[in-house]
């Protein structure tokens, strides 16, 4: 190395320093918020009771599946899909309608429905580079209209097997087990498969990914199919819980989901993130909601709190990026 290059190199920030000294602002804020939440939870009487915890687990798992699904899309650089909750509902309807052929068939059909609906959007987004927000918005409106047209306002179960999914195992709701299982499977996919790594590259910079020979279109489609399947599982759980499927129950899930993804720490710019963090994010939101309820705040305040949290996270991520 020449002298000049060396001096430049030295001025670039020493290799070990930044990691030790500069903890990102967003991480600090998250830790502080987490501590606050735990403190509040412990000081709220009755929060740690069995009933309350089961309710919490239940509340988490349904929208949680959608949040996990959303995480794939956010990591892949598409910010969010506005149609994911509608996909969830439609998959739930398919599940209920197909229960007559037995539980396994119904589950598979619901997964296929979710995967296809979302995968088609992925094809338009990944191959044609259409704007993901607009495509998903159009898909959302289409799904609502089509579901209304084909199925009417409500689909009743064609068989009784869904009761199985409403149950508990050792006092833990089955839906919660499914949710945690999904989070673990999803995390393994992201961390340890070629697809997962390519998804990160595509999300970080899709032009650079293409130049590096990564199949941007294929990865985007795969991420959407996966997201659709995860959302479909959410739909199955929602339908089972309420004993019928409609387009109303899961309405607005996409916003809670993206909130959980961001609060969990996945970057809104894409390229990094994890499903286990999303799990924490959804837990945080569920705890906020439960606490607000127990402390006597209305549901409206919960919505506002979550919205503000999202805004704060986005701003913190922006500040963190500027520092770099």
């Amino acid at each position: 190395m020449t002298e000049a290059a060396h001096s430049l190199a030295l001025s670039e920030g020493t290799p070990t320093g930044p990691r030790l000294r500069r903890v990102p602002l967003a991480t600090l804020a998250r830790l502080a918020a987490l501590a606050l939440l735990v403190g509040l939870a412990l000081s709220t009487p009755g929060f740690l009771s069995r009933v309350s915890l089961i309710a919490l687990a239940n509340a988490m798992s349904l929208v949680g599946c959608v949040a996990l699904a959303m995480t794939f899309l956010t990591i892949g650089g598409n910010i969010m899909s506005l149609s994911l909750a509608a996909t969830t509902s439609v998959a739930g309807m398919v599940f209920m309608a197909a229960l007559g052929w037995g539980l396994p068939t119904a589950v598979v059909l619901a997964l296929v429905a979710g995967g296809v609906i979302s995968g088609l959007q992925g094809a338009v987004i990944g191959w044609l580079r259409a704007n993901p927000i607009i495509v998903s918005l159009a898909a959302y409106a289409l799904l609502i209209g089509a579901a209304q047209l084909v199925a009417g306002p409500k689909v009743l179960p064609a068989g009784p097997d869904f009761q199985l999914l409403k149950g508990r195992w050792l006092d833990v709701p089955i839906s919660f087990l499914v949710f945690v299982g999904l989070a673990i499977i999803g995390q393994l996919i992201v961390s340890f498969t070629r697809f997962g790594h390519e998804l990160m590259f595509v999300g970080s910079n899709n032009r650079a990914a293409e130049a590096a020979g990564i199949h941007v279109g294929r990865v985007t489609v795969a991420a959407h199919v996966l997201a659709g399947a995860f959302a479909a599982i959410g739909g199955i759980l929602v339908a089972s819980r309420f004993g019928s499927a409609d387009m109303q129950t899961a309405r607005g899930f996409e916003y809670t989901a993206i909130a959980a993804v961001l609060i969990g720490g996945t970057s809104i710019a894409g390229g990094s993130g994890s499903l286990l963090q999303t799990l924490l994010g959804i837990a945080a939101i569920a705890v906020i909601n439960a606490l607000a309820l127990m402390q006597g705040f209305s549901m409206e305040v919960q919505r506002l709190t979550v919205g503000c949290a999202v805004l704060v996270v986005i701003v913190l991520q922006g500040l963190g990026r500027m520092k770099r």
């Binding site: 191959w127 044609l128 259409a130 704007n131 289409l142 506002l304 500027m322």
Partner: protein
């Protein structure tokens, strides 16, 4: 690239849709023309200003997806404040929208954040805020006279609402076409770095554009709520689909730098005509929603940057390219 991005195309599309509607109505031989024009303009009054605000942000190469929530919130604020003094209520509603736009613009420019993420955060927050200010209730405005006045036909096809929308478009059209502001707006969206190097204060342009977007959607929300004499926190969110469609059909490119208020007006009128036509033909609301969503989906696909390329390769290689 937007396949609709051509100065004359929005007008041609509008003319085509009008023609089809006219033929359809003629064949069925129904309705008074005034009534149909009136309903077209009433719908235009709702989605027009929103499409204009959204379209302006798109010309500047930003994207404000919070317009629906802003509209909702402004309507709620106006009705609540307007119980005592409707004028004050309208002012409060619009001021809310402008303030929301200002904050978003400052966040986008100050922190270099993508406008989609900021407006997404705003969308969720504003929705929450609407629920809080109304206490999750539908609130009604106790001023029947105002509701009456806003919706009363003027010159048999116009109303206060639609005249306001037309006025907004006219003002924006004049400013963009005839003043340097228009050149600066287009330059900001066309090539932000180049515009900044040339001396355009691009950050100011972006903030102003967000304020306009917030203000216009708020105004639309206020007028709609006053016109319906009720406001509910969840009532007005379905405006985003037609507003985006209108902007893109009106020739605004998602890549920025292309489009004009006149084009957006054409796009909005196209959708309103389509809507009125479907209504007049007795198409069910569900089917209407599907058709409108289909329009947006088509628009998204046609505006996709790679569509041409794949189509070209298909024709070259006999379909083996994918």
């Amino acid at each position: 690239m937007n396949a609709f991005a051509d100065d004359r195309k929005p007008l041609v599309i509008l003319a085509a849709v009008v023609l089809v509607l006219a033929i359809a109505l003629f064949l069925r031989g129904i309705g008074s023309l005034d009534l149909i024009l009136f309903s077209i303009l009433q719908y235009f009054a709702t989605i027009g200003p929103v499409a204009l605000g959204l379209g302006l942000t798109m010309i500047a190469r930003e994207f404000d997806i919070s317009v629906g929530s802003t509209m909702s919130l402004a309507g709620c604020v106006a009705v609540i404040v307007g119980q005592r003094d409707p004028n004050l209520g309208a002012l409060a509603g619009i001021a809310t929208g402008v303030a929301v736009g200002f904050l978003q613009g400052v966040l986008v420019t100050g922190l270099g954040l993508s406008s989609i993420s900021v407006s997404l955060g705003a969308l969720i927050t504003l929705a929450g805020l609407s629920y809080v200010v109304t206490g999750n209730q539908t609130i009604s405005l106790n001023h029947a006279d105002i509701t009456q006045a806003i919706n009363a036909p003027i010159g048999s096809v116009f109303s206060v609402r639609s005249l306001f929308a037309i006025g907004c478009f006219a003002a924006a059209g004049v400013v963009v076409a005839l003043t340097r502001v228009g050149a600066e707006l287009t330059a900001t969206g066309s090539d932000r770095v180049a515009a900044a190097t040339a001396g355009v204060r691009v950050n100011r342009v972006v903030v102003v554009v967000f304020m306009l977007s917030g203000g216009l959607s708020a105004a639309s929300g206020v007028f709609l709520s006053y016109g319906l004499s009720v406001a509910s926190p969840s009532g007005l969110t379905d405006v985003l689909v037609p507003a985006i469609s209108a902007a893109i059909v009106g020739g605004v490119a998602l890549t920025g730098g292309r489009g004009s208020p006149v084009g957006i007006a054409c796009g909005a009128l196209t959708l309103c005509t389509l809507n009125a036509g479907l209504n007049a033909l007795g198409v069910s609301p569900t089917m209407q929603q599907i058709i409108l969503a289909g329009v947006l989906f088509t628009v998204a696909v046609v505006a996709a940057p790679r569509l041409n390329r794949i189509w070209m390769r298909r024709t070259q290689n006999g379909g083996g390219a994918l």
